[in-house]
């Protein structure tokens, strides 16, 4: 799992997360929240796109937590 901004400052650039197999994005989100790796309004990106909660996460997928963005 890739992390950015505030979450990266707290938890590092990358964390390993144990999840059931198969797992959907919602399952990943629950596991992250249970570990305290979450921030209000964050979204999960799967292979560089915002995901839906019921998308399946497959081995090898690039998963990232996207806190509310602040570009511009």
């Amino acid at each position: 799992m890739r992390l950015f901004a505030g979450l990266k400052s707290q938890h590092g650039t990358c964390i390993l997360l144990e999840v059931p197999d198969p797992v959907c994005v919602e399952g990943v989100r629950s596991a992250l929240k249970a570990r305290g790796v979450w921030t209000s309004g964050a979204r999960i990106a799967l292979n560089h796109s915002f995901s839906n909660l019921d998308d399946t996460v497959n081995p090898g997928d690039e998963v990232a937590v996207i806190p509310p963005v602040s570009g511009g």
């Binding site: 309004g41 990106a45 996207i66 963005v69």
Partner: protein, 137 residues
């Protein structure tokens, strides 16, 4: 021109990239680092991007604009350390008429601010902090 850059952004280069004889209206938005944000002084900012996703999103946004309006579009965001007065982002839309150029340029910057994975860390006299979510810039 669509993407991220570590180098200073030149708005004129971006204008030239979108201009064309058939497109009479050109609207450019330039977002610069302010010396004051909500009353707090900023000494500098650091912009971090999730690069492959940010680039992909920016291309997607330009493609969305091309569906909504005919014209040429550009969006460029700088990453790394920036000081007050530095240009952080430029969006540009060249369209046949001015109304579309304003609408499209506004669309581009709003979409960048909402969905492109870029974050800024503010440094000032009170320390440093990551900004999450839109600021009123």
């Amino acid at each position: 021109m669509i993407g991220l850059t570590k180098d200073p952004i030149d708005p004129e280069t971006i204008r030239r990239a979108v201009e064309s004889d058939e497109l009479g209206g050109l609207c450019i938005f330039v977002g610069e680092v302010r010396s004051l944000t909500s009353g707090r002084e900023t000494s500098h900012l650091f912009y971090e991007a999730y690069e492959p996703m940010a680039t992909g999103k920016m291309r997607e946004i330009a493609a969305e604009a091309s569906v909504k309006w005919s014209g040429k579009f550009a969006l460029v965001h700088r990453v790394g350390e920036l000081k007050p007065g530095d240009i952080a982002v430029v969006t540009a839309a060249a369209c046949p008429h001015r109304n579309e150029s304003f609408e499209a340029c506004r669309f581009l910057i709003e979409r960048v601010k909402a969905d492109v994975p870029i974050w800024k860390k503010e440094f000032g006299p009170d320390g440093e902090s990551w900004v999450e979510g839109e600021t009123a810039s």
